[in-house]
């Protein structure tokens, strides 16, 4: 795998369909960046104009405690469904010196705002990760996946540089579900000649692999971060919405964010 993260100037756009796992990845990637670079460096841009509930702005306090700088719409419209982008987005791109992760929301309509940002982002090294969960409807066949990738590129005016595999069925994800979903995505990556950067995996599933999973930094699978599984690159994530009715709210027994061992 090329190392697609962590360069100080790196802009990472996450694109993909509704419910592909873009926001989960954006959250975890930002927290991981912050754990590597220290507080005040990793920026997370909330460009979600679609999803009403499961968006990063609800986690502001947790993210800031983990050292992430969150750029999100004005507090007055935070809980609205107006398609407003935060004004600070433009300023954030102009300032040098830190990595930026851009989360977009809610499927194809949500990709449109990205087309406005490509000129600004073009001043920095850009990577465009397309997140696919092969268990989502409309992503079952290679043909469907390839067609979707083409649509996303057109809508966002961005060229996909990497695929990210996110094969899961929420709480019903077993190793079998993971491997068979991953297999289908490998075939797609081969077909479109876009490198598969890594596979996402929940900390719960990662823990079942024991010693086969080798974390890239000190710590356990539960703490999250980059790792290899039988030599394959994986990114272990915490699922913020495991019980969706908590809306990502931190509970009294929830672990703190970020790799504790790093």
């Amino acid at each position: 795998m090329s190392q697609p993260f962590g360069g100080p100037e790196q802009v990472t756009f996450l694109i993909g369909g509704l419910g592909a796992g873009k926001t989960e990845l954006a959250l975890n990637l930002s927290v991981w960046n912050a754990s590597q670079l220290g507080p005040g460096q990793a920026h997370l841009l909330d460009l979600d104009i679609i999803n009403p509930f499961f968006r990063v702005r609800r986690l502001r306090a947790d993210l800031e405690a983990a050292g992430v700088v969150l750029v999100t719409p004005d507090a007055r419209v935070q809980n609205g469904d107006v398609p407003a982008l935060p004004a600070r987005v433009w300023g954030t791109f102009e300032q040098p010196g830190f990595p930026i992760v851009c989360d977009v929301g809610g499927g194809e309509l949500g990709l449109r705002p990205l087309a406005r940002l490509t000129d600004l982002a073009g001043k920095r090294p850009v990577q465009v990760l397309c997140v696919i969960n092969p268990y989502r409807p409309g992503f079952q066949t290679p043909e469907q996946m390839v067609a979707a990738m083409r649509r996303y590129s057109e809508l966002s005016a961005l060229t996909i540089t990497h695929l990210v595999a996110n094969p899961h069925l929420a709480a019903e994800t077993t190793p079998d579900v993971f491997w068979s979903g991953l297999e289908r995505l490998r075939a797609v990556a081969e077909r479109v000649q876009v490198p598969l950067a890594f596979a996402m995996m929940s900390d719960t599933l990662a823990a079942t692999f024991g010693d086969r999973l080798v974390m890239s930094t000190a710590g356990t699978a539960r703490a999250g971060g980059f790792a290899t599984l039988d030599g394959m690159p994986v990114f272990v994530i915490r699922r913020f919405w495991e019980d969706p009715w908590h809306l990502g709210r931190k509970e009294e027994d929830a672990p703190p964010l970020g790799p504790t061992g790093a």
């Binding site: 419910g19 268990y135 069925l169 019903e172 079998d176 009715w245 709210r249």
Partner: protein, 361 residues
């Protein structure tokens, strides 16, 4: 397992409607249910169906009235303020006894409220909502899988009783994603709807008429008592257990000293509360009404003889609690805990309430 897909609640209602043979959808977008029309806008043309974004909710519900009168399986959906707009049409549809499915993905009210999840449309859903003496059946799923299964059931019940059926879900259920096994497709036979426009009616000069106008007072009274009798049949069939799988779920109630009552997403949280309470040595149980009208009163009435008290939890200031009190009929105290305005109560705060009731000192 291999066949399962990961779907949003809003999406699965759309897919299940298609599987139920619904080929007509009329609606207007509103958060947090817009993924449902968005899904059907793409899906219905694939099965030669009609998706139409109407100019308003009022227009949409009247298009539903038209398609239902023609005998088609038809659906509309909205969220709270939009469902308020549909109430006039819903009253017409119930009055004319036309089967249809109406989905309300409930958000915070009153008025414009906000886009966050709520359960404050219980009264509107279960008391009719529009004008006149009428009832609608109301189903309240608590998982994405049940949203699929209950959507199919809603179409079957609508045809069976020639009545609108409401699917009442909160915003969280609409938005959240869970693995789901899609149900098998079902079909319906338009020839089994002799009342539908287009089917011959030998008695009425060869033509059917779908209408709610009864200028003659005796005729209207007769019609209203006819509707009343039909609602009695619905209530009786549910009470006799004809729809057991749809009516109510109980959990750990046999030895419960406190029975928690909640529907929809709250029932998922209450299940955790029951487990945590039992770990603390509190014998808690759960009653989850799956159908809100007809309300599963008998289960609560039976438990009133065994348990010490009830705690009703809702994402409202207290609406279903009235039905629980009617069912319990003063035999045991019925308490209420609610969060509103878009706040979902956590298992911790509910557990605290349970603690206070069980151990008042």
């Amino acid at each position: 397992m291999a066949d399962k897909v990961l779907m949003k609640g809003n999406e699965v209602i759309g897919e299940a409607a298609v599987l139920a043979g619904c080929r007509y959808y009329f609606g207007y977008p509103i958060t947090p249910q817009s993924e449902l029309p968005a899904y059907l806008a793409r899906r219905l043309p694939e099965v030669e169906g009609v998706f139409l974004q109407a100019e308003s909710e009022v227009a949409a519900i009247n298009m539903v009235y038209g398609a239902a009168s023609a005998g088609a399986r038809v659906m509309t959906s909205s969220s709270s303020p939009g469902v308020s707009l549909k109430q006039e049409g819903l009253s017409y549809i119930a009055g004319a006894e036309m089967p249809c499915v109406v989905v309300n993905v409930v958000r915070g009210g009153p008025g414009l409220g906000n886009i966050s999840p709520a359960q404050s449309d219980y009264w509107q859903a279960t008391r009719g909502g529009g004008h006149g003496d009428y009832r609608t059946l109301v189903l309240a799923p608590n998982s994405v899988q049940e949203m699929a299964d209950m959507t199919i059931a809603a179409f079957e019940l609508a045809d069976r009783f020639r009545n609108p059926v409401l699917l009442l879900v909160d915003g969280i259920l609409g938005q959240m994603m869970e693995p789901v096994q899609l149900p098998a497709p079902t079909t319906y036979d338009i020839n089994q709807k002799p009342w539908a426009l287009g089917n011959p009616n030998p008695r009425k000069g060869g033509r059917n008429l779908c209408s709610t106008i009864f200028l003659d007072v005796e005729q209207l009274e007769e019609h209203n008592w006819h509707l009343y009798q039909k609602y009695q049949v619905v209530t009786d069939e549910f009470a006799k257990g004809a729809y057991k799988h749809l009516a109510v779920e109980t959990h750990a109630v046999d030895d419960a000293e406190i029975v928690l009552v909640g529907y929809g997403i709250i029932s998922r949280i209450l299940k955790t509360v029951v487990e945590k309470a039992r770990k603390r040595g509190i014998k808690a149980g759960l009653v989850r009404p799956k159908t809100l009208w007809p309300f599963p009163s008998q289960v609560l009435a039976d438990l009133a003889a065994k348990t010490k008290q009830f705690l009703v939890v809702e994402m409202s200031c207290g609406q279903m609690v009235e039905d629980v009190k009617l069912a319990v009929d003063g035999k045991k105290p019925v308490f209420f805990f609610g969060r509103t305005g878009g706040t979902v109560p956590s298992d911790f705060e509910i557990l605290n309430e349970v603690d206070k009731l069980v151990r008042p000192d």
